[in-house]
Subunit: 362 residues, 2 copies
Amino acid sequence: MTSPWPDIGTPLEQILTPMPVIDEDRLAANIRRAQAYFDEHGKAFRPHIKTHKIVAVAEAQRAAGAVGINCQKISEAEVFADAGFEDILITYNILGAAKLARLRALHERMAHLSVVADSATTVDGLAAAFDGARPLTVLVECDTGGRRCGVQTPEAATELAVRIAAAPALRFGGILTYPAPGGAMAVEAFMAETIALLAAKGIDCPVRSSGGSPDLWKSHLVPSATEHRAGTYVYNDRSMVRAGHCTRGDLAMHILATVVSRPAEDRAVLDAGSKALTSDLLGFSDFGEIEGYEGARIVSLSEEHAVVDIGDCRKSFPAIGSVVHIVPNHTCVVSNLFDRMVFHRNGVVTRVEDVAARGTVW
Amino acid sequence: MTSPWPDIGTPLEQILTPMPVIDEDRLAANIRRAQAYFDEHGKAFRPHIKTHKIVAVAEAQRAAGAVGINCQKISEAEVFADAGFEDILITYNILGAAKLARLRALHERMAHLSVVADSATTVDGLAAAFDGARPLTVLVECDTGGRRCGVQTPEAATELAVRIAAAPALRFGGILTYPAPGGAMAVEAFMAETIALLAAKGIDCPVRSSGGSPDLWKSHLVPSATEHRAGTYVYNDRSMVRAGHCTRGDLAMHILATVVSRPAEDRAVLDAGSKALTSDLLGFSDFGEIEGYEGARIVSLSEEHAVVDIGDCRKSFPAIGSVVHIVPNHTCVVSNLFDRMVFHRNGVVTRVEDVAARGTVW
């Protein structure tokens, strides 16, 4: 049996489903447009590779002008370091002897590795695992309203920065936040106050990094930030369209699925379940949007089936065997399910890339 | 750098997180107990491998007495056929030239392959792709209340069975359903009526297959069924405990996660996000249960973080750097995220198995 992955030149109608596919032109436009925005506003842009986990896509982001890349775990960073990326920020508290040993090995073989910390425990662990001959750059993660990780106040950020700066094995790199969507004013206030507190102690704060695709186009509203991080913008998804951060014409990822059953008048079933779309709702009440069939709703997923309520679909839903295009609620989790990703231009396959950092779990 | 996967003999405390781990003794007991139940009631048992996707686990299920295995897609079946499994039922409507060609190639190299159909379109596609020299066995899928795929009435099931029986390239194998939980009476009624309708036409209905872990222990309430299919029972999960289908002592899978942040009084953050736990809620309002910390609730996931509300946790929540054990809402989707699976006995690693059918997407 030949490989089930499509050859270059294959029309999308002939590929096996369920399968996510990436539109080359929209991908390139998304990369270009975001970088142009940051260039215009004089800010560094650091794409988060969690969305695609593909070396070639990160290379395109770097070629467009990205200052470096953002990873969320050591194992992701190892893949991209292997591929020659020299400036990687891991926005995670790295803890425990096994992970610290891997982090140190990574640091020893690349030019610019940095991580974040939001507690004395994390800082002290890093300080003990590294040494002054080649200090590790550490940024303080700040909670500016996203309510995930991060120190809670500019005073706490300053205190942790002092602790980092005092450790011979570490270098204080700056401050970082993953804000709540729409939180530009809160980010600016937190950053400005922290910078002032640090200055009063004679500590420079070179990098001030904010993040998130939802706030990408509002980065100029955070004058204190020197850098922005974002992942989803590269493919975009249904949640980004809903929030007005992109148009439907910017959607680079679709999931191709086949209609496998039409068991009842008001019900169709597709071959894309939670193992292709994931169960991420991101505030929607259904699991993705079927392009061109307004009113058809993916009301439930089992692992390999999507049940579609077509009772309110305004036009005749496709027959069994037809292929539909689904806009996923959330692209990043879809990438994480597939070992390879199919790219196309105008519906013809251009390449199939390894999702090299998929399955890198620690 | 050495492999990050643990060696045999490694204590679980030393493995990298986030990581699902399987308790050998509970796994073996789950396999044994289910098979003993079906043996006692004189029914065939066909485990669904979607839950684990691991050859060695399916071999244990077969050794215990399983009649064969159940797969949900051709690519899964290919992996298990390669591993020497000779009786595979793919409970899916297979459609389209590319998939039919792969299905035929699979059929040609194994002893007992069967599939299902719930429409004339699917039956006609199968009939055209195979030939009478080596007919393919096809079961009619029936919707007995699960509201996914399946013909809607015993009359429609009979009509489709006649169509299959009339096709020289196909052999009518029987009827199959994936019922709504608690639907034993509906399954029995549908099956008994269909068997009678078929008998009136002189058509034998050798296999009557029902399924689902939720109804596993009620299979004896469906006297017409000759076989039962189930996946989740092998590991069990939080949803199975809630439904009373197993006890906490039958939970074979936990996800180890590290506390990476304690940013606020009422909040802890773990390193297991939607890329380790998935967003499957299965009716819960939180994303998994942290063993030993009643009242702590995983209230939100981002891709690599779980945010835990510890405001109502009855005991002191572990400090940064500590490892906790999470009972996942749904095991099957967790297996699908990891390339390898770590097994242990009493907290010491016994083996690391390839999740061989993970990433087999079509």
